[in-house]
């Protein structure tokens, strides 16, 4: 039996170093590379723009003989065109990089960088509550909607605690304060000094928003700021954290110690996820190393302190628990089910049904509905759970008669569980004599008429076990098992 357990694994192994005897055409490759490594659509664009340039240039040469002044705008246009082309190519390549390479970490960092700037200015300019633009954040909100199996019980949670030192709010001379400004503060200052503000910089432009924002604008003006959030030495040295590792797909709780209740906080989880809660929880979907940034703002203070700590959390991959199972021998009151662990890369796994550990071979009573969990752990101790529902029914649920009389008298001559009329999916009905299949059908118009596969006839007065097996589109398998008695004269 065990050789059957991991046929998928063996399948993988057989492909692992599969190298068909083919030879790549390096010359063709080189030629494609020679046209400078742009993909087909880009090349198309290049050639079209080049054609346009040639045309513009040719036109200008012709024009040159007639009137020199006509040439000048043409040439200028040509320059513009090539700059545009360059830019669009760079953009296209960057886009492609992002899509193709799927370096989750790099992506996350890009998102992180892009957002934190945007946010800092939002934060500064509008005060709390911070408005997060979902479009800007991209996938951050998806994190909350990670697909979880409903019956998952084995996930462990992790708490990530940040010990903030005491937060003191006190006045400082303006000059000193300026040194502590973050880049965003500086930019804000600059903008204020520049006078007329662009659209979106509502605060200073109107100066009449709610008090909070006004204060924010004031403090950003630096000369009128009265309070500031001071970082103590401990904090400068780095956050004190309680965990450094977590599992992908597992909830990590974050907490701040020593946080002033009135202060506002913004967590940036480093994977594109954000939270304004003081003690949020977050699920990292992908393994990797994430920088976690916490921004804290003291009450009524417009300034924002950001501390970014590198490699704050390492998210380990979790195994993807995969299981399947097979019906083995059965009688009318119980079925032996063989459970198959198909998880890849797991170091240990356990079968759980209800509250109990079970072995991979389990006898289940009919009728019944059973949820079997496979808890798989990998070397990092990360776990995943797969759940399969096993449904077992008897003749009542299958709407099947307890007996029939295949004697050709036109009454109860055939046997077919009526539930097959309702089944949307494939099904197979088998009739068993001991360990042997004596009849099989998957056609509702081909019910059992008492004939046996070996050409014989069912024996009067004898009970046969029948099994009706079906798989729903969702992959749930259901088995109906019971006896049927051949009614004798």
């Amino acid at each position: 039996m065990s050789e059957n357990l991991n046929w998928i694994d063996r399948l993988r192994q057989s492909f692992e170093s599969f190298e068909p005897k083919v030879n790549g055409n390096w010359n063709a490759m080189q030629k494609r590379l020679d046209v400078s490594g742009y993909s087909a659509s880009e090349l198309d664009m290049v050639s079209r723009v080049k054609a346009a340039q040639r045309f513009a240039f040719g036109a200008s040469v012709v024009a040159a003989g007639l009137a020199l002044w006509m040439v000048i705008p043409k040439v200028a246009e040509q320059d513009l065109l090539s700059t545009e082309l360059e830019n669009s190519l760079v953009e296209a390549k960057e886009r492609e990089n992002g899509l193709l390479i799927e370096d989750a970490e790099a992506n996350a960092q890009n998102v992180h960088a892009a957002i934190s700037d945007e946010h800092r200015s939002n934060y500064l300019s509008e005060g709390l509550p911070l408005k997060l633009d979902p479009a800007l954040i991209g996938r951050s909100y998806d994190a909350g909607a990670v697909q979880l199996d409903p019956d998952v019980t084995a996930r462990t949670t992790t708490t990530f605690i940040l010990n903030l030192p005491e937060m003191t709010v006190h006045a400082r001379p303006p000059v000193e304060m300026k040194e502590e400004f973050t880049a965003a503060d500086a930019e804000m200052n600059k903008r204020n000094e520049e006078g007329p503000l662009a659209e979106g910089d509502r605060i200073s432009a109107t100066g009449s928003l709610e008090g909070e924002s006004e204060k924010g604008a004031e403090s950003a003006n630096s000369t009128s700021a009265k309070s500031n959030l001071e970082m103590t030495a401990a904090e400068e040295a780095g956050f004190n954290i309680s965990v450094q590792e977590a599992c992908a797909g597992t909830e990590v709780s974050f907490a701040l110690n020593g946080m002033d209740e009135r202060a506002s906080v913004l967590w940036n989880f480093g994977d594109g996820g954000f939270s304004q809660q003081e003690s949020p929880s977050h699920i990292y979907e992908n393994a990797g190393t994430y920088d976690i940034t916490v921004s804290v703002r003291a009450p009524g203070d417009g300034t924002i302190r950001t501390r970014s700590v590198e490699n704050m959390i390492v998210v380990r991959p979790k195994p993807a628990a995969e299981m399947s199972w097979e019906f083995e021998e059965s009688n009318a009151s119980r079925v032996n089910v063989h459970l198959i662990d198909e998880t890849m890369g797991a170091s240990s796994s356990t079968w759980i049904m209800g509250q109990e550990d079970i072995s991979s071979s389990v006898a289940l009573k009919i009728p019944g509905e059973y949820y079997v969990n496979l808890v798989a752990s990998n070397a990092f101790g990360c776990q995943d759970v797969a759940v399969e529902k096993i449904q077992l029914g008897d003749r009542k649920e299958a709407i099947a008669p307890a007996m029939f009389s295949p004697d050709g008298d036109g009454r109860y001559d055939t046997f077919m569980p009526l539930i097959v009329l309702d089944l949307q999916d494939d099904w197979t009905l088998t009739v068993w004599d001991g360990m042997e299949v004596v009849f099989e059908t998957n056609d509702v118009r081909g019910p059992w008429d008492g004939s046996l596969q070996d050409g014989g006839r069912a024996v009067s007065g004898k009970s046969y076990i029948w099994k009706l097996e079906t798989t729903s589109t969702a992959g749930d398998r259901c088995l109906f098992v019971d006896n049927v008695l051949i009614d004798g004269e």
Partner: protein, 189 residues
């Protein structure tokens, strides 16, 4: 191939060095051909996919961070290219979930399958995969061989996570069934 040699050539590729590019191309061509062959059975198309894939490898090599495995990185690009190509060739091929011939095949003789004790060759598995619909084939490949999660597969193929799981389960069963049939035929001969 030593780790050092590989790193040297990766750096070379980053500078656009032709010899390094050729080294990488020749070192990984067969392996990647094998990867792409799992997605489509047409050899000419596989060749196109691998070429296209290598073009992407060389034009994007700046984006390769030395943290991960280089082979894994190339492989991922190849898989992406293969999926895109299959999608382009057969519009909506990846959305289909039915494969009537196969449904019929696997509908019978479900019971008493012999265990797959004997080993099977890559050729046999490829032949079995050729009988899968493109939708099943893609899910099976992505999950079993290329280590994609169901969530990733769903995103890639624009299907639901549930559909990915169900397609995988069906594909597995069908592949297994075909392998068993094949085994039986071998025994009979």
């Amino acid at each position: 191939m030593s780790e050092k040699e590989l790193r040297l050539h990766i750096d070379g590729c980053k500078r656009g060095d032709r010899l390094s590019q050729q080294w990488v191309f020749e070192r990984y061509y067969r392996l990647m051909f094998g990867v792409c062959l799992r997605y489509t059975s047409d050899q000419d198309r596989v060749q196109d996919i691998v070429q296209e894939g290598f073009l992407k490898v060389f034009t994007n090599i700046e984006g390769f961070t030395s943290k991960g495995s280089f082979e894994g990185w190339i492989r991922r690009i190849m898989v992406n290219t293969a999926i895109d190509a299959v999608r382009k060739w057969k519009t909506s091929a990846l959305e289909s979930t039915e494969d009537s011939e196969l449904e019929r095949l696997s509908g019978s003789e479900e019971e008493e399958e012999p265990m797959l004790a004997d080993s099977f060759t890559v050729q046999e598995v490829l032949l079995a995969m050729n009988k899968l619909s493109p939708a099943y084939r893609a899910v099976f490949n992505l999950y079993v061989f290329d280590n994609y999660s169901h969530a990733e597969i769903a995103e890639k193929l624009h299907i639901s996570v549930g559909a990915s799981k169900s397609n995988l389960a069906k594909a597995k069963r069908k592949i297994r069934h075909l392998l068993v049939l094949n085994l039986r035929q071998k025994v009979e001969k």
